[in-house]
Symmetry: C2
Subunit: 326 residues, 2 copies
């Protein structure tokens, strides 16, 4: 099957390799022709996925129309803030379009697949999401993710093209829950990183993760998602690994905040987007819109956008909490 | 208030310090007079809690009757396999007796508080449980745990004596759920360690943790616990930290198995008990008794007690799984 991956960052490149392993004809599109030429010449994505060879059979293409020609699947692996603009450019696409970006649009509160349905109404939208660090998938380490779509056929087709012996794909029909879990965990990961930066230990982080999954579920259900989705790979699975792993960009971003660096000083130094930064703003908007109590999101928002000091945020977080679990 | 902590391991010692911080009169009892004398002389528990000073005001006592005299609280911090025998020796105690051990008795399937209710019927049984590595609590790092009891008064009293600015205590009335979550997570942590030992990454572990919380909940509910308890500190919170933290003894035990060491060779080298080892047997018995599908527990049991090879166990685990999340 012909598959086009849009976005030549770490995750887009890893998924191109993963799809190529399945015998698909894979074209990787990137917006920067110079970087694509570098990848073409070195057969490696040195910036985002160092030391992983990219076989000749993965085609590289900087022209979007040529990249998508005859494709049955388009995988949207661009950063969330570029998703709507990229989608507009492929408005006539009529295959299955799979979002693998994790975010919520500012002001509209739309998830990535909701934007795709607006901008590419001729396509069938699906989502692939889960606790999947790109370098591990690129190294063929055992991983699992969820293929979600309103359309059962699109969910099953997405499961089928991505399923590998090392990459187990489950289906889920609750697209909204899958996307909200994935996006909101990046906000929580910043809070987990702040705990690390302040020198707290694993006990603190375990308490944070426990309170966070309830908060994410509460907000997600208010938005219309199913509660049980947040106990799955894209909720609990992605949240725990993002909070505990050294590999998480959002956790690392929060760690620098906890150590005293200022947000405006950190942002320009990041080599890839910490999606939790824009998502904290969308999440705070959603919580206000639906009048959901979301103390962790509120404190992360205050640290990121209102210069609240990390120690004050953490202290206020703890003091807002109730005294009974049940 | 006079409080006696029974068991001078890492957790018993850390809790003695924690209770002393709250202004209580604390006596720490241990079964080994020689070790107690060492602690008394050095004011440190060098073996289990190195580099943490123990103030003179924490009394050390190797005579059980003298240790408990006039105590209103007894904290049972002995290893699970010693709990029943220790409880028999204090059969007439009539205060609140708080289990902090995490396990399930072989053959009877009883939790620690259930054993306490049998052996010390004159006391009020409670449980303190959560994601709490002893050295972090002893260093006064922010931590949280659950105080659970059938009796609301005993739960509130337990919350009150343990609550510190750095140690937040929630109450929960589902004692069985709290205890089963705490015990079963040690079995899962062994599986997480096996993943590490086999060289798998964070993606694999996130998938394992996600499947595990469902499995623990399923088994717990079959035993009579409430499903929501497993989303709390003693379920999800303790499970995630035990699977991801380098500090977990059970994870480390599993890692050695994954690297190819044999269980009978590892056991005599452990400085403290890996409670997941005996609990895997009890958990397997419970799953059989209640006819609950518990594939992770089954594979851990097979690795520990039937010499099943780790690669075979992990392969069988993945292949037994379904293809849909919902």
């Amino acid at each position: 099957m012909k598959v086009t991956v849009l976005g030549a960052g770490a995750w887009g490149t890893a998924l191109a390799l993963e799809l190529r392993d399945g015998g698909h004809e894979v074209t990787l599109w990137g917006h920067d022709p110079i970087r694509l030429r570098e990848i073409h010449q070195s057969r490696m994505n040195a910036r985002y996925l160092p030391r992983i060879p990219i076989p000749e059979s993965v085609l590289l293409e900087s022209d979007l129309d040529r990249a998508l020609k005859n494709s049955e699947f388009a995988v949207m692996a661009v950063p969330t803030k570029a998703l709507r603009a990229t989608a507009k450019r492929i408005a006539g696409f009529s295959g299955i379009i799979v979002s693998v970006a994790k975010g919520i649009e500012h002001d509209t509160g739309l998830t990535m697949s909701q934007i795709l349905r607006q901008e590419v109404p001729t396509a069938h939208a699906a989502v692939l999401s889960g606790p999947t660090f790109a370098p591990e998938v690129a190294r063929r380490m055992p991983s699992a993710a969820v293929a979600a779509s309103d359309s059962e056929a699109a969910a099953l087709a997405t499961q089928e093209i991505f399923h590998r012996p090392y990459f187990r794909i489950y289906t889920n029909r609750d697209v909204l829950g899958v996307e909200l879990g994935a996006a909101l965990k990046n906000v929580i990961a910043i809070a987990a990183g702040v705990c690390d930066g302040l020198g707290f230990g694993d006990n603190s982080k375990a308490a944070l993760v426990t309170r966070a999954i309830s908060e994410i579920r509460r907000l997600g259900v208010a938005c219309g998602a199913k509660p049980e989705t947040f106990a799955g790979l894209s909720g609990l699975g992605d949240l725990t690994v993002t909070c505990f792993s050294r590999q998480s960009r959002n956790r690392a971003f929060g760690e620098r905040i906890g150590k005293g660096e200022k947000v405006p000083d950190i942002l320009p130094t990041l080599s890839s987007v910490a999606e939790g930064y824009p998502t904290a703003k969308s999440a705070e908007q959603l919580a206000r819109k639906f009048a959901v109590d979301a103390p962790i999101i509120a404190e992360v928002y205050a640290m990121l956008y209102e210069q609240k000091a990390p120690v004050d945020a953490l202290r206020d977080l703890v003091s807002r909490d109730s005294k009974s679990e049940d």
